[in-house]
Symmetry: C2
Subunit: 416 residues, 2 copies
């Protein structure tokens, strides 16, 4: 046996926000906006959690974003997150911030925890005030409904949906020093999705024992390659929030930044984040396909990311995917205005899905490919466009969706 | 009578690219892409013209952009512009550039002018090669059809349309030292419109006698407030070209940079550019409304421009306009991610159209306005949202359009 035991591989498991030890969740129908469905959720930990978070870069920040950021930056441990999916609580002034304070106070009373340990999340209409009595009644129901099985996590994932068509969950576990460490999460889209330093609403939990520095570094570095690489409509929300809660109940030896165990943790976190991010992109408002753009052969990572993101953000590439039309000129055009430098006359371009792979462009000009095959490839639920810019060895991926009539239907009349 | 005679006011006149003295135009059906319609146009001047131009900032530049830019930068005078609206001649490699050379050679022969005096413009599908024989036959027809009346200008404006629903022309005249000086132009949209340092295709002609410096400065400064402030879909084209040709046939005393006459010229040029730009935005693919965003009370012009442009670029504000829904939170959200700093809690927001004007937001939070009135205002063909950010006295405007099912219809199946 070698001196250092071979690390066990990460295992992808079922479940979401309750997958890690000691985490519970619940949903409730509080009638804040929707009737006949749940619209509030809670994530609760039996023990207080070290917490890392990233938040919207939008100048217009919703009250819950201001609240959570202040808590996370203060370093105070958190134990519960109260989420509603009816009203965003953005552009609501001092009254809106007071709603966060009252939410924390009420939840602390009901759950018998410190009020500084309560975080809040909101998504929905901008500009309306949340009816406080409904919210308070919802918090009581959430506390009554708490449970730690996968079903409770799934109910919470459903309750935070707005225009989403499916709930979004992911979980994975690793083994550290003989102890099983689990990471699980849930997220919601599906419009106003163009995260910048964070995402719409995503909540990830872990039972890992991990240093505060390692937890923060892991979240902030991984978000750059996952949530920050998706876009549905180019609109960076006022409410984007990603929280990572670690309650330490796995009992592993503490994970420290820069160690092999940190790399293991990062791999599992990356899986959960990337999976949630891709689910969000693929379930973009009105979407019929997940559209992935890959850049390979780049000189720098930054260049590859700019080019990939520009492709999946273009309304014209997105409508071409919706129409199953291999209009590759639009992809080159979007690369061209990305702000990244490259030589258009060196670009090779491929389209790929489970229906096959074809090369459309060689050195910047069209090949004599089969339009029929291209259309077949583009008719699948997951489509990848890969551009090789032949400058180096760096690469990046970004995820978006097609732009369809469904997006117009949803957004021309979302409020009413 | 005062020492300096009072300047006569600018007069808005009918007409387009043939409004100025000595300019002729024509259209021809060359069958390059479309059947049963004209798809080529020419703008011709009896005398060689000083020429200024601005071109796309996209890294992927169409062959005609490369051709025209080289000519304009060399300072050589131009006398004809040959335009086709079937194939963009972008991503076509050396063969594509050779098409420009052959176009110039053919036009020079037919028109008996210097081949260095021929500029070219293309718009349409990216990646296909232009059938040279059809193009040559088209050039012959164009030369035969030349005429200098408004009808010929109008035919040219129609021939350069792709997904445009109406032709776009504007003209104005001023008087300088007793001589009438005219500026007229034509432009086409209506998708892949998000100009950066220029616009899609626009051709402006003037008979002014003007120094080369004044001509260039006028174009480059005015384009920042006109064509660069519109967007249809956020996609900066590979072909964006704006040319300004001055043949000097008005016989006025030469206009020099920085003089009162220069300001007069700039006023008329601004009218023509702004009118064409707004027509382009209002006729965006699938659009039912011109959507104007105004920022007032800004600290700097740059800040005002960023905020205004972010509003009209947002898919979510655009779908809200399509749905006649006063979802003002999306406007504040778009301002928030524009990259410009401002205090959201100082913002007042107004909606205005010919149906009236209402105030929706005071100091960043909602007023109790009439949703019915807001919907009536938003149901007009021209809608303005004005945000007062109460920091200073600078202001800016930007123009876009609503995002409708029509955009999806057009672009999910544009190529075929």
């Amino acid at each position: 046996m070698p001196v250092k035991e071979r690390m066990k591989e990460m295992e992808i498991i079922k479940g979401g926000v309750t997958a890690a030890k000691g985490f519970q969740a619940a949903a409730a129908a509080a009638g804040i906006k929707y009737e006949g469905r749940t619209d509030m959720a809670i994530v609760y930990s039996k023990k207080p959690c070290k917490t890392a978070g990233t938040f919207t870069s939008n100048v217009v920040k919703a009250a819950p974003v201001k609240w959570d950021r202040a808590k996370v930056e203060s370093g105070v441990k958190s134990q519960a997150v109260i989420i509603n999916s009816g009203i965003a609580n953005a552009c609501t002034g001092p009254e809106g911030y007071d709603v966060c304070r009252k939410t924390a106070k009420k939840a602390a009373e009901v759950l018998k925890i410190d009020k500084d340990a309560v975080l809040v999340g909101s998504t929905g209409v901008i500009g309306m005030q949340i009816p406080m009595e409904k919210l308070k009644a919802g918090i009581e129901k959430l506390a009554e409904n708490l449970g730690e099985d996968a079903e409770h996590g799934n109910q919470a994932a459903k309750a935070i949906m707005t225009t989403d068509t499916v709930e979004k969950e992911a979980a994975a576990c690793i083994e550290i020093g003989g102890k099983k460490v689990t990471i699980g999460g849930m997220a919601k889209g599906s419009g106003m999705i163009h995260p910048n330093m964070c995402t719409m609403l995503a909540f990830v939990t872990t039972d890992a024992v991990i240093s505060k520095k390692a937890l923060r570094r892991a979240l902030h570095s991984d978000v750059q390659d996952t949530f920050n690489m998706i876009s549905v409509d180019g609109d960076t929300s006022t409410n984007d929030t990603l929280l990572l809660l670690a309650n330490g109940m796995a009992g592993n030896e503490k994970i420290r930044y820069g160690t092999p165990e940190y790399e293991q943790f990062l791999e599992a976190l990356h899986y959960v984040n990337e999976t949630l991010a891709k689910k969000m992109a693929g379930d973009g408002e009105g979407a019929t396909a997940l559209f992935e753009a890959k850049i390979v052969g780049a000189g720098t990572k930054e260049q590859a990311k700019k080019l990939a993101k520009s492709i999946i953000c273009s309304n014209l590439t997105k409508t071409a995917v919706a129409g199953h039309d291999a209009n590759w000129g639009r992809i080159l055009c979007a690369m061209g205005y990305s702000g990244a430098k490259f030589d258009p006359e060196k670009v090779d371009l491929y389209l790929e899905s489970r229906a096959g792979k074809i090369k459309l462009v060689q050195d910047g000009t069209a090949l004599d490919y089969s339009e029929e095959k291209a259309t077949e490839i583009l008719s699948q639920p997951e489509v990848t466009a890969t551009a090789d810019i032949k400058e180096g060895t760096e690469k990046a991926a970004a995820w978006g969706c097609d732009l369809t009539h469904g997006y117009i239907d949803i957004n021309a009349d979302y409020r009413s």
